[in-house]
Point group: C2
């Protein structure tokens, strides 16, 4: 792979704090959600994804792509929220081998109940610690990163 371009000091600082803060932040949000609402952060994120769709439905392959997950890992995860009654899986009418995940009324009710806990955590542990300028930079920078990752071949 040729010469390794190691990170410079400012690059390493950006990377290191981004990573350790992110791990800690996710852990904290997970704890707050699971203590107050008995739902894990990753399960909650699955429901939020489905809720971005007008009909609360998404193909499993799309959902995996959106969550940065693999099909097999997602299938396990969706099985768990399905057992809890928050999601149901139905065959895709447009693709014989495809499966669609669909938010149930119980899933919507959980989202409504849990959203205040989640938003309060996101504010307290991230958003309210940032200036509007920093929020803008972070939004734009990670939008670029997201677009880049989306364009990579599989």
């Amino acid at each position: 792979m040729g010469e390794v371009r190691w990170l410079s000091e400012p690059e390493a600082k950006a990377w290191r704090f981004y990573i350790v803060a992110t791990l800690k932040l996710r852990h904290r949000l997970h704890r707050e959600l699971s203590e107050a609402q008995q739902v894990s952060l990753i399960d909650y994120e699955v429901l939020v994804c489905l809720d971005t769709q007008a009909d609360g439905r998404m193909r499993m392959t799309e959902l995996a792509n959106f969550l940065g997950s693999t099909k097999s890992r997602l299938s396990h995860q969706v099985g768990r929220v399905e057992d809890a009654g928050y999601v149901r899986r139905v065959p895709d009418p447009e693709d014989k081998r495809g499966v669609i995940a669909e938010l149930t009324p119980a899933g919507r009710a959980l989202l409504e109940r849990a959203a205040p806990t989640h938003v309060q955590g996101v504010r307290e542990h991230l958003i309210d610690l940032l200036t509007p300028q920093e929020q803008r930079v972070i939004g734009e920078a990670f939008e670029r990163v997201y677009e880049h990752l989306n364009q990579l071949p599989d």
Copy 2:
């Protein structure tokens, strides 16, 4: 919990792109590491943490705190890298009930072998997509978030 302060449009944009880009980025780095070096991203991160210490040793409680993990989840994870021969667990001489995780020579060798793959991924999918100004803002902002999370009571 009083009135919910929902996110404004720019706040929601920062949060949404940060989260979806981060999930996708971790998934990509994980895939590159596991394909080229047969090590998962989370296992690699455990080794990197230990390697930040001069003697390659860290208390399990410190390590859990650093990785934003719980003691039980970490114990499972460290068991896996211990089975692979990259880490060994030894009793803490200063705390009868404490356990120390220690990087083995095989763990150091893996880090040396895998670091070029990891750094190339971090550059290609994040750092090289950011301007120096954005790197600075992200480093400073997430340092503040990290300090905040570290000061929270358990």
